[in-house]
């Protein structure tokens, strides 16, 4: 909604008009008020059609483009200097040991070619000139090589906290010191020239200049620019760094924490934000508290040590963690037993979904719950997914419809080719029908962190049940079956606080679960995370959601119509944290606490009241004066200075340079996707050196610059379908609107390969070949990179073999090569395209094998 306040909106890595149609009305609202809308995307879509400017880009080259913009801003002194000096770490001085990609031919210092990991010790802030006792202790830790960890699992886990810094560091606010972040940034991005952007992205210098000028003209005191992205950024082996590049750019332009600014992640599922906050993710617990790691965390103290007491709200980690343990284990969790810390399983490495699938193929994981997902269609490299499922002992699928992940044993693509035989598959499959969104009550968290409660409208039919009911029931049964066990292994299950009353239909009360999530103390429901205590007197299932049940009221259920409220609409739903709509909004005021401008007034300091006031809940200590300097020995929120708006970071500053916490470098650098038709124009290092590969025969990788696989493919969604199709290919209305899969190709590519509009084409990668109808269109432009053209093939990925509308899955073409921070895969790869339908049966396997041989792909896969 705040998008309507933007003066310029850059949409990149997202086709917002088609994938988030109703959200897009706010872009149009901004445009009506005069905002410039720019769409940077490989395809011309309905988003481009209403944008002021569409800039086609080669898929996967976004860091080069954004890096070019950073360079433009830095080399022409166009940054919002007052903001940058006060609110970012531009002034921080980095240790002498740091070496950049400029010095090391595309790598940063700390690279270990053996482990293919970075040791970030040389990326640190130079220690402060005058050190407190804490700093001295910390410096000793760092010199001992601990506890600084750059494990990928951790770079993600500090999502809400930022990585813990050992010290705030020395600053040069003139930004002249050669080792200050600002100067390092300048040197690092100097090679991202308009010419380089053209060579890498296929964007002519004249187009680049238009974007650069629009961003700069619409940033500063009076104006703000917003960025929107979706999986066009996240789905890359350099995804985290793509987003970081945009964050660097937006921070340099002063567009974070201000109305009409920010970087908006457009998320694809109703509660994908919620399932990250209250995660069903391997590496975090609710509220982004990291899962303990076996090598580091063998006690409560060790677990919270890195973060505890550090400046900012994250410094209260012990209160959040102890309250979570109390929510989990209730009365069993006491100060004497470390609040049952030992009941938490500890991680020993990457347990993410792709690693798990490989483990299934290898026989190390034998049971699988699939709950409202369809990995046989929706995950990269569908064959790997199905081979994994075929090697299980048991599989539970909970869904509304008979999805492909439930029927792979009967009619999956591998049954057709003979690679799998039904009678030989030993997997026992339970399909349990689920309740729809109107057959249960509960909350979703949408893309701007807003929780909205749904009331139950009708009872689910037949055996259909909510997940709430299924899991409460499952937990009850497991606990009954283990009731007599004295095995230590079973203690966490038996002592679990698992007393959920159910109604006559067996349905648990969702509001009582939400109340547990909110947290409770001696006086009932807590009203904010500031109420949480480290002594066990409070319990809280997810500290960032504390307040959603304040005053014993389900705040997520609020539905005050927008016409009865101002634009912020604070009484509709509830936004974490603390019903705050714009994060870090202290930055909407100048260092002295006055609004940057009348036009962009949002939150400011009221000297009379001695408080922060404004249109939103201030994201700051409410009475912390702008000129406050914390005492040197202050901890947690007390250590936040009056001019440190980034209250979750240990130094209160936005990180242009990440001294810690990012697995593949303190600054973004452009590397090519794992499969690319070109050599990396920026560095001698071709692909992200830290990328994670899955070495298994079903995941072969096309060699880069292969003439056998000369084209780029990229997958995407349509308005009328939803991800893996289970909720859309099964509905008559939607199927009628988009009845079959297709591939979009440029007229030039169609000529080159003899493809006919409306006829069939076969698209081939080292994994498999799929077929789709041909759509020849100018919407895909042939990109000129130096003296050659690059062609891109657009593939909607919603289809599979079941449902009312069927077709080959584009995800079967996609390889699994992952970003080292978040273990998310590339969605782009290389391919060949041929006219006509693909071979059937065993002939398909041979057809693809021939391609692999011609391209020189090792038969055993990526080994």
């Amino acid at each position: 909604m705040d998008l309507q306040n933007a003066d310029c909106i850059l949409i990149e890595g997202s086709n917002m008009a088609e994938a988030h149609p109703v959200g897009f009305q706010w872009v149009m609202e901004a445009k009506k008020r005069g905002a410039t809308v720019i769409h940077v995307d490989p395809r011309f879509t309905r988003t481009s059609a209403v944008a002021d400017l569409h800039v086609p880009i080669r898929a996967g080259s976004d860091i080069a483009f954004l890096g070019g913009l950073v360079n433009h801003v830095l080399s022409n002194d166009l940054d919002f200097r007052e903001y940058v000096v006060a609110y970012t770490n531009a002034a921080n001085i980095i240790t002498e040991d740091f070496a950049d990609t400029e010095d090391l031919e595309g790598l940063f210092s700390g690279w270990d070619p053996e482990t293919k990991r970075y040791d970030p010790v040389s990326w640190h802030y130079e220690p402060p000139a005058r050190m407190s006792d804490d700093d001295v202790a910390n410096i000793e830790d760092v010199q001992d090589g601990e506890p600084v960890s750059h494990e990928a699992a951790q770079s993600d886990t500090h999502g809400s906290g930022g990585s813990p810094l050992p010290w705030k560091g020395r600053r040069d606010e003139t930004l002249q010191h050669p080792r200050c972040v600002f100067q390092i940034l300048k040197r690092h991005f100097a090679r991202y020239t308009p010419h380089m952007v053209e060579e890498t992205c296929g964007i002519p210098a004249s187009e680049f200049a238009k974007v650069a000028d629009a961003l700069v003209a619409n940033s500063g005191r009076e104006r703000t620019t917003a960025f929107c992205y979706a999986v066009g950024w996240t789905h890359h082996s350099t995804g985290a760094q793509m987003i970081r590049t945009s964050a660097i750019l937006q921070t340099l332009l002063g567009n974070i924490g201000r109305p009409g600014g920010g970087i908006l992640a457009l998320r694809g599922h109703a509660s994908i934000q919620g399932s990250t906050d209250i995660p069903t993710l391997f590496n975090i617990l609710p509220g982004y508290i990291p899962m303990p790691l076996a090598p580091l965390h063998q006690s409560l103290d060790a677990w919270v040590e890195d973060d505890e007491g550090k400046a900012g709200f994250w410094g209260n980690i012990r209160s959040y963690s102890v309250s979570l343990l109390k929510a989990y284990w209730g009365d069993a969790a006491t100060a004497e037993n470390d609040f049952c810390f030992d009941y938490l399983p500890r991680l020993t490495g990457d347990h993410s979904t792709y690693a798990t699938v490989k483990s299934m193929i290898d026989g190390g994981c034998k049971g699988y719950f699939i709950v409202g997902e369809n990995p046989a269609v929706g995950s990269a490299n569908g064959k790997m997914q199905r081979l994994g499922m075929a090697n299980l002992d048991w599989l539970v699928v909970r869904d509304l419809q008979m999805i492909e992940s439930a029927t792979f044993w009967k009619d999956g693509p591998e049954i057709e080719t003979g690679e799998l035989v039904t009678e030989e598959i030993g997997t026992e499959v339970f399909f349990l029908p689920a309740a729809t969104h109107v057959e249960k009550s509960g909350s979703f968290t949408q893309t701007q962190r807003m929780l909205q409660w749904r009331d139950k409208a009708v009872e689910p039919p037949g055996d259909c049940r909510s997940e709430l009911q299924f899991y409460v029931d499952l937990g009850n049964r497991i606990r009954e079956k283990l009731a007599d066990s004295t095995d230590e292994m079973d203690a966490p299950v038996l002592e679990l606080a698992w007393d959920y009353p159910v109604d006559e239909t067996g349905e648990p009360d969702g509001e009582s679960v939400l109340r547990e999530v909110n947290g409770t103390g001696p006086d009932g429901a807590v009203s904010s995370y500031l109420d949480l205590k480290p002594d066990g007197s409070t319990a809280c299932g997810c500290w960032i959601y504390a307040g959603v049940y304040a005053d014993e009221v389900n705040q997520a259920r609020r539905r005050k119509p927008h016409w009865e409220q101002d634009q912020v609409a604070a009484e509709w739903g509830w936004v974490w944290p603390a019903n705050r709509r714009i994060l870090y909004n202290r930055a909407s005021a100048a260092p002295d606490g006055t609004p940057w401008s009348e036009r962009k007034k949002y939150v400011w300091w009221d000297p009379e009241q001695g408080r922060w006031v404004g249109k939103d809940v201030p994201d700051f200590v409410p009475d912390r004066a702008p000129d406050h300097t914390p005492a040197p020995d202050a901890h947690g929120p007390d250590a936040i200075g009056g001019q440190d708006p980034f209250v979750m970071q240990t130094d209160g500053k936005a990180w242009l340079f990440a001294p810690l916490g990012v697995a593949d470098g303190p600054l973004p650098a452009h590397y090519e996707p794992a499969e690319s038709p070109v050599a990396n124009p920026l560095y001698p290092v071709q692909s992200n050196p830290g990328r994670r590969s899955l070495k298994t025969p079903s995941n072969p990788i096309n060699p880069s610059r292969s003439e056998v696989f000369p084209y780029v493919f990229t997958t995407y969604r349509l308005t009328e379908h939803h991800t893996a199709g289970g909720m859309s290919r099964t509905l008559p209305y939607l199927t009628e609107l988009q009845p079959e899969p297709f591939c979009e190709v440029s007229p030039r590519l169609a000529r080159e390969r003899g493809l006919v509009h409306g006829e069939w084409a076969t698209i081939i990668s080292a994994r498999t070949a799929i077929e789709a109808r041909v759509l020849v269109t100018d919407r895909l432009r042939s990109l000129r990179l130096g003296d050659r053209f690059v062609e891109q093939v657009g593939l909607p990925y919603h289809w599979g073999g079941n449902g009312l509308s069927t077709g080959d899955s584009a995800n079967d073409l996609v390889n699994v090569t992952m970003d080292p921070n978040v273990f998310i895969q590339d969605k782009v790869g290389t391919c060949d395209v041929q006219p006509g339908r693909r071979p059937r049966g065993p002939a398909l396997v041979e057809y693809v094998a021939q391609y692999r041989r011609r391209a020189g792909v090792p038969e055993e896969g990526d080994l």
Partner: protein, 186 residues
Amino acid sequence: MVDFLGWPLVRQLTGADRLGRGAAAQSPRSRDLEPRTRSADRVVDSVCPFCAVGCGQKVFVKDGRVVQIEGNPASPISRGRLCPKGSASKQLVTSPTRVTTVRYRRPHGTEWEDLDLDTAVDMIADRVIATRRQFWRWEDEQGRRTRHTTGFASLGGATLDNEENYLMKKLYTALGAIQIENQARI
């Protein structure tokens, strides 16, 4: 005798609606149609279950069945609008191909079989207990305590409620299961 006076053409020529765009062209069927939203017994506040925009929905219920789902005009996010997916969401509930009974495929089986829900959940509980134990690990190679199992995994959450995700993670964590993932990774 045919009542030709009721013919639309005659009505158009003789009545007030000379252009034939209103009353003259209306059939008794269309005249008697009433919006399902008006005859509903109840209207329930909901939220679209597809993408993360989070459009507000009004669910119209009659005789215990969903008869219509529309956009909620009061929502500051969506102001009453729904895209094709949100507009089609009634069919998620009423789809004729929706599966409403448990289906079971035994190992090496070639067809689905029926299974009672209660039995199914009980069988699943047994399998969780057995697999958890089979792949239990107290320590890693260096003797550091792990207290986890890698025997079973879970995928899903982004289409579910916060309360559901919360209980899933809580139960799995107590069981020592760590390979818990959802669409946010994919």
